[in-house]
Amino acid sequence: MKDLADPDLLTRAVGGDRAAFDELMRRHEDRVLAICLRIMRDRENALDAVQETFLTVFRKAGQFRGDSLFSTWLYRVAVNTCYDQLRRMKRRPSDPLPEGYEPPDRRVDSALSAVELRPDLTTALAALSEEFRTTLVLADVEGLPIGEVAAILQVAEGTVKSRLHRARKELARILGNREAWG
């Protein structure tokens, strides 16, 4: 089973082979969790989203045509599931930074040397807009190619690049509490 490619496993799963789908889950569940956790910011909600993602994929497995990578399709389902859940919760996508958060010492010349004073990545990501956060998570945190990110989000590659540049500047501003980024 471990030697089979994702599409072959999916084909078997459609035919009722649960072990094949278990193997697909084993291969991708950590990454789906990572994506959902960065988007949802709450582990329990992210776990719910992971569960719903795999249920959706299982139920719609017969619709997968193989035009894209299985992972692209899976991550698209995951992102959409997270968005749906966020909408259902009617929660504001970006919470402000924690009340007790103190900005880094402005006397520190290099932003890199102020690393211990920064908010962690998760907190900083939470301050980004939903679309910036998702784009940056997929491309920079998960390391997916621009083309795959574009396919997952169903936007043009140029849009992904534009969002990425702006998201990186915004995230850096939050991480370093820098005001220079326009």
């Binding site: 990572a34 299982f58 690393v115």
Partner: protein, 266 residues
């Protein structure tokens, strides 16, 4: 930053993936805004690299599979494929939240009644409600095995913490009697993941305690044990052992006869 500047080049320079970094360095050196963008990228990449990738715990993996297949099995193939199912079953913490509110109402009412001379009214009424709470939890755990805790995503004011408090109070009130009523008992090996989930929930809620007859302390970090419970798996006596943080315990299952580890395997 000027549009003609190659932002991808600047990012690749920050990533350190350029075979020939000279053009990138030249761009950064000649363009202050590019240099700022370069620094921003360094900051972002460093933050990303310093944070480990999230992973599912073994228990979460168990629960994920169990929940997925339970949902698949419970669905009607002709009618449910397009229905989002994660919200179709009640989350245990929502049920627990409702139970906690009910418990609070009855407890307050009982105090008021008790204040007029009926001390036993509080104990009796509260026990009835807390007993119902425990029953609801058992039902909810069966219905929603994957949702092992966390916040109420519906935005209700009733939090899992409130539910946990109710359970803790119930356990404190009734002590060993409650623990006995909620013990894991006998079960089939196929139900081990569910039993672990139940045990974990009970540890987190404060309903599980330590059993003084536990003798396998040398197989776990005895100073770190937060709860132990006897059970019987396929007729074989076993110990459920929770260690570490009571809010997020690690669970082991040991063979009670030779203290060998049954779970986790591998």
């Amino acid at each position: 930053m000027h549009e003609r500047h190659d932002l991808d080049l600047v990012f690749a320079l920050a990533q350190g993936t350029l075979e020939d970094p000279a053009p990138g360095r030249e761009l950064v050196d000649s363009c202050p805004e590019c240099a700022e963008y370069y620094e921003a990228n360094l900051l972002v990449l460093e933050a990303i690299r310093s944070e480990p990738a999230p992973r599912l715990t073994d228990l979460e993996r168990f629960r994920l599979r169990q929940a997925v297949w339970a949902e698949v099995d419970s669905a009607e193939p002709e009618t449910t494929p397009e229905v989002p199912v994660a919200s179709s079953t009640p989350r245990w913490y929502r049920i627990m939240g409702a139970a906690a509110i009910l418990a609070a109402f009855v407890a307050v009412g009982a105090v008021l009644v008790g204040g007029r001379g009926g001390e036993t009214t509080l104990t009796t009424a509260a026990r009835e409600v807390f007993s119902a709470t425990a029953e609801l939890q058992t039902q909810a755990d069966t219905a929603e095995p994957f949702s092992g805790g966390g916040e109420d995503s519906s935005g209700s004011n009733t939090t899992p913490a409130a539910a946990d408090t109710a359970m803790t109070e119930a356990a404190a009130d009734d002590g060993a009697a409650d623990a006995q009523a909620q013990s894991l008992g006998a079960f089939a090996a196929a139900d081990l993941p569910e039993m672990i989930a139940q045990f974990t929930d009970r540890v987190v809620s404060g309903a599980a305690g330590t059993d003084s007859s536990f003798v396998c302390g040398d197989r776990v970090d005895a100073t770190d044990v937060v709860a132990t419970e006897r059970a019987e798996m396929d007729g074989v006596p076993v110990w459920f052992v929770a260690t570490g943080n009571p809010d997020d315990p690690a669970v082991q299952v040991l063979d009670a006869e030779d203290c060998s580890v049954v779970y986790p395997t591998g």
